[in-house]
């Protein structure tokens, strides 16, 4: 779950372009983490030491670990630890960007440190709920300073549902307040009760077709009623599961209204709504929330 937020962090810092990030995201399943990247992440080696070994490897047919031990950068035990370590998935994205020449190892090392400090990530290797909540709060702080607890919960589940039902290869872009919004192909739904959340998801035609193909698990090639329904279905499923969680964890029963679909509609009552674009390689899902 951390690589999605790391992508947002890199874009916000202006160190990568959207195209460079999307290329790295697409490649992550065909690449493996290198010992050098792991060694920097664990604090065993500096970026310069890693670069020295990479240079030596261009004229010596030896493994990275072997040279690192020869040079005294790593001990045998440290190498074993690295090879068995559980690492956060954003590290691979960083390494691909280094391989692609977008970042240097030194820049990556510095960016990761800043990323941890800015987000106060406690367990560097874990995917703990507290860390995800912290990442969500920091992301949303860009638009709202006093984020209600239920919105954190709502977004935490949204990110998990996107991973579960659409794919993990997304990057949340920076949210912003939105006073007027003209929809493309949009579905909206209202949750009310002890608190209210009005949610919309809006996509263009091509994005809707790709979204439906992933969500339904069938190939769609044109915009039809099933493609349209897939957007509504995802929103309804997500909101329904949110109601279940709130009921189980807080004993609060909320009411879910039927979802509505709209096209080229001006959403006039969106004052103080937050627009959260989610970037996928196939397009952008624009989520709008009013809380």
């Amino acid at each position: 779950m951390f690589s999605q937020f790391f992508g947002n962090f890199l874009l916000s810092k202006g160190v990568v372009t959207t195209e460079q990030l999307l290329r790295a995201i697409k490649e992550q399943h065909s690449r493996h983490l290198k010992v050098g990247t792991l060694a920097i992440h664990n604090g065993y080696m500096t970026a310069n030491e890693v670069d020295n070994i990479v240079i030596r490897q261009t004229h010596e047919d030896k493994r990275f670990g072997e040279i690192a031990i020869e040079e005294g950068y790593l001990t045998e035990d440290q190498l074993t630890t690295l090879l068995q370590a559980q690492t956060p998935d954003y590290l691979l994205i960083g390494q691909i960007l280094v391989d692609d020449g977008v970042l240097t190892n030194s820049q990556l090392e510095e960016l990761i440190t800043t990323y941890h400090t800015e987000n106060k990530l406690s367990e560097l290797n874990g995917e703990h709920k507290e860390n995800l909540d912290a990442l969500i709060r920091n992301l949303m702080l860009l638009s709202i300073t006093d984020m209600p607890e239920h919105l954190t919960k709502y977004l935490n589940l949204l990110f998990n549902n996107l991973v579960r039902f659409v794919g993990e290869d997304f990057t949340p872009l920076n949210p912003r307040f939105c006073s007027e919004y003209v929809t493309d192909h949009c579905s909206g739904q209202v949750i009310d009760g002890d608190f209210q959340i009005v949610s919309y998801v809006d996509v263009d035609r091509e994005t809707a077709i790709s979204f439906a193909s992933r969500y339904v698990g069938e190939e769609f090639s044109e915009f039809d009623e099933y493609v349209q329904a897939s957007i509504e279905d995802f929103l309804n499923l997500h909101n329904g599961l949110f109601n279940v969680n709130v009921s189980n964890e807080n004993s609060i029963e909320l009411h879910l209204n039927p979802p509505l679909s709209m096209e080229n509609t001006m959403l006039s009552s969106v004052d103080d709504s937050i627009l959260l674009p989610i970037l996928y390689p196939f397009g952008v899902l624009n989520f709008l929330f009013k809380v």
């Binding site: 039902f165 339904v216 009623e225 099933y226 329904a229 897939s230 509504e232 279905d233 309804n236 499923l237 909101n239 329904g240 599961l241 109601n243 279940v244 009921s247 189980n248 029963e253 879910l256 209204n257 039927p258 979802p259």
Partner: protein, 125 residues
């Protein structure tokens, strides 16, 4: 009764959800489907056809699933209604069962669950 002879009513406002459920049931041999996109249509279709089994969503426009369960149970106290919903809270489940639903399936759909519901009621192919 064989599943292929059973009339199956599916009430869900999502055409996609209806298609996914039909695909699962068709693969098991069912082929006689009636489709409703809201609670009122489901009641009307029940009245006209008396299907052997009804799959009903809860959150629907015009008339919701719970109201539809009540009215269908008044038409036939032996009606076999299975609720299929994304809102599977304990209270929702309790309410649906109290109104007369025989089963409750939490979305996203799980074909094994639908299969076990149908196998407990009908003969397969």
């Amino acid at each position: 009764m064989k599943l292929e002879d059973a009339k199956i009513l599916i009430g869900d406002d999502s055409i996609l959800a209806r298609k996914q459920l039909k695909d699962i049931i068709s693969a098991l041999g069912g082929n006689n489907f009636l489709e409703a996109s809201n609670g009122q249509e489901a009641i009307n279709l029940y009245k006209e056809n008396t299907p052997e089994i009804v799959f009903l969503d809860i959150v629907m426009p015009v008339k919701d699933g719970n109201s539809a369960i009540s009215e269908i149970m008044q038409l036939n106290p032996d009606a076999d209604i299975v609720v299929v919903s994304s809102v599977g809270t304990q209270m929702q489940l309790k309410q649906a069962i109290q109104l007369g639903a025989k089963d409750f399936v939490q979305k996203p759909l799980n074909s094994k669950q639908i299969e076990s519901i149908l196998k407990s009621r009908f003969e397969g192919r």
